[in-house]
């Protein structure tokens, strides 16, 4: 395994710190949870306006890596650069301030609350004395939803009444409205039907069309292969592959994940 790692390091070595082509660079990230060595020196980059698939089996470290980037856990070692600048991300607010937004399946929305109130949750536009500007909330909600190709008629409808795909759309529209530069989607298609998954992938394409970079974390290689331009594969807390779409196929990717090395 070490041999594989150094191989991938060699292929990845010639990047400069603060390279402006990269939106995000995570360098030599280490993370321990008690005695569990969850991330073992991972380098991870996301380019400007790129859809990146982050894949790997359960326990590979995908979520841990992303939680470090979105400020839920601190890294024990390593550095993060954003737009060519070294940054420290201590909490989710720091990440949001940089323009890094994470969409978690089923955790992101309040089901009994309306679509527009969900989209503006915590960042409500207000009139005097903190009263909500409901007209603006409703109009801008529909506007933002239509930007990712989701046309809904009633911004006052509760989120619970929406289909799974539409809910993901609402969660994605929310990050779009707040000018995200990088959107991290954690298993966005895991509980969805085929049709709904297709809808979510359409949303992702619209994000890219809007100039936003997307990290798509999933087990589902078929979904991610349709849409991502590059794949980063993790196994046991290490990066075992970093492959452009042109150089791989669904079969090749699943081969890497199951054998845990680049063949």
């Amino acid at each position: 395994m070490n041999g594989v790692k150094s191989e991938s390091q060699i292929s990845e070595k010639p990047f400069d710190q603060g390279n402006p082509d990269y939106l995000v660079q995570m360098l030599d990230i280490h993370k321990w949870f008690g005695k569990v060595y969850a991330l073992r020196g991972v380098d991870f980059q996301v380019r400007e306006n790129e859809i990146l698939g982050l894949v790997g089996d359960n326990g590979a470290g995908k979520s841990t890596l992303i939680k470090i980037l979105s400020g839920f856990h601190p890294a024990d070692r390593g550095e993060i650069h954003f737009e060519g600048r070294r940054v420290s991300i201590h909490n989710p607010k720091d990440a949001k301030r940089l323009g890094i937004e994470t969409v978690y399946q089923e955790q992101a929305l309040a089901p009994h609350v309306s679509i527009s109130r969900n989209i503006f949750m915590g960042r409500e536009p207000t009139r005097a004395l903190g009263f909500l500007d409901k007209k603006r909330m409703d109009a801008e909600s529909l506007d933002t939803l239509s930007k990712i190709g989701l046309r809904l008629s009633d911004p006052e409808a509760v989120v619970e009444a929406l289909s799974g795909g539409q809910r993901q759309g609402v969660a994605i529209a929310r990050v779009l409205y707040f000018k995200a530069k990088l959107v991290i989607l954690d298993e966005p298609t895991i509980a969805l039907s085929v049709k709904e998954s297709r809808q979510v992938m359409e949303f992702i394409k619209q994000l890219k069309a809007g100039g936003i970079s997307v990290v798509f974390i999933t087990h589902n290689i078929y979904h991610v292969h349709q849409i991502a331009e590059r794949f980063v594969i993790l196994a046991h807390g290490e990066k075992i592959g970093d492959i452009r779409k042109e150089d791989t196929s669904v079969d090749h990717l699943s081969e890497i994940i199951t054998s845990e090395r680049v063949s």
Partner: protein, 350 residues
């Protein structure tokens, strides 16, 4: 107010009722009033005396129910409202008897109530134990303390030297409308605007509905919850003063049993036990339903103990109705939006 239209473009009355749950609660209240009027001897229910009693006495409980409803939307319970109330009326009596000026006494009593609420909130959010337990403890603690200090005796309170003060809490407008009901309406409007039109309300709903999501969006859910507890404490202490001034006697049984009645009023008004769902308008009518049942049964000369039996039936049936309409609304919603998404995909296909 916008109307809810169904897929065929017509006005969907069922959808309307589900969306404006408070309206259906209002109709239940109206039906109860009509039934009590028709059944009461000599239509005594709508006699001026009874309406005055209902508006004045009922309002005290109703105000407390509003605050409890708001706290339930935030996803927490308060079983201690009756005990905060009795403790605060004892505090007010003590301060007043000690010769503290009446307005300072009011101010300090409101402060004590707010701090008690804040303390319950603090214990709940910092330890992570259910508020059901925190406030169950609070219920026993504050009433126990009151009983200990008062020795269970009744004690008179005479505020007649402050007519303006008395008038503002127990008087009436034009000798007709009890001022308590004006307070009830006013506090309902303030809380209603706060919950439904202010960003604080959006945070309350988000916190009660999905705490993780609210936190992820940068809402400080602990502060929101503690604020709701504090508002409950503040309102209980206010009603405590209002009640002891009206009665003129401190009784260690004040507020007894209000905690469960307040939860009942919230539930009847469409507030979900799990948080995130409800409206102040719903709780407003829900509280009136609970008060009118108590009042109506007295007017009908039905033995008081029947009120508990009837409360039991009302609570269970209203939760069943909530549950069924919720199910129904979900399936309807899914149908409607499926239609919408099909429409959407048709539009998008080249």
């Amino acid at each position: 107010m916008d109307t809810v239209k169904n897929a065929k473009g017509g006005v969907d009355f069922l959808g309307y009722f589900m969306r404006f749950r408070s309206l259906s609660v209002f109709f239940v209240f109206l039906l109860l009033c009509i039934a009590f009027t028709v059944r009461s001897p000599e239509y005594r229910f709508i006699s001026r005396d009874n309406i005055e009693v209902f508006l004045a006495l009922g309002a005290e409980f109703n105000i407390v129910a509003l605050a409890v409803g708001m706290l339930m939307i935030c996803g927490e319970f308060d079983l201690s409202v009756g005990s905060i109330l009795v403790f605060c009326s004892f505090v007010f009596l003590g301060l007043f008897d000690a010769g503290v000026g009446v307005f300072l006494a009011v101010f300090l009593t409101l402060g004590v109530g707010t701090l008690i609420g804040l303390l319950h909130g603090l214990i709940t959010v910092k330890t992570g134990i259910p508020s059901f337990i925190t406030t169950l403890g609070g219920m026993l603690f504050w009433r126990g303390l009151t009983l200990f200090w008062s020795q269970g005796f009744q004690r008179p309170l005479d505020t007649s030297q402050y007519p303006l003060f008395n008038e503002s809490l127990t008087g009436s407008i034009a000798g007709l409308i009890p001022i308590q009901s004006v307070w009830f309406l006013g506090i309902a409007l303030v809380l209603g605007f706060l919950i439904h039109s202010h960003k604080f309300g959006n945070w309350v709903f988000a916190t009660g509905d999905n705490k993780q999501a609210a936190k992820a969006m940068g809402i400080n859910t602990d502060v929101i919850k503690m604020s709701c507890f504090a508002i409950v404490g503040l309102i209980c202490s206010f009603v405590a003063i209002m009640q002891i001034v009206r009665v003129g006697v401190f009784s260690s049984r004040a507020g007894d049993g209000w905690e469960l009645k307040a939860i009942a009023a919230s539930v009847v008004g469409g507030t979900a036990l799990t948080g995130g769902t409800g409206s102040i308008a719903g709780v407003f009518w829900g509280a009136l339903i609970i008060s009118v049942i108590e009042n109506g049964l007295v007017v009908l000369r039905i033995p008081y103990y029947w009120t508990f039996v009837i409360f039991g039936v009302v609570i269970i049936s209203s939760v069943i109705i909530s549950y069924l309409t919720e199910q129904r609304r979900l399936t309807m919603g899914a149908e409607r939006d499926q239609g919408a998404s099909e429409l959407n995909s048709n539009n998008r296909s080249p």
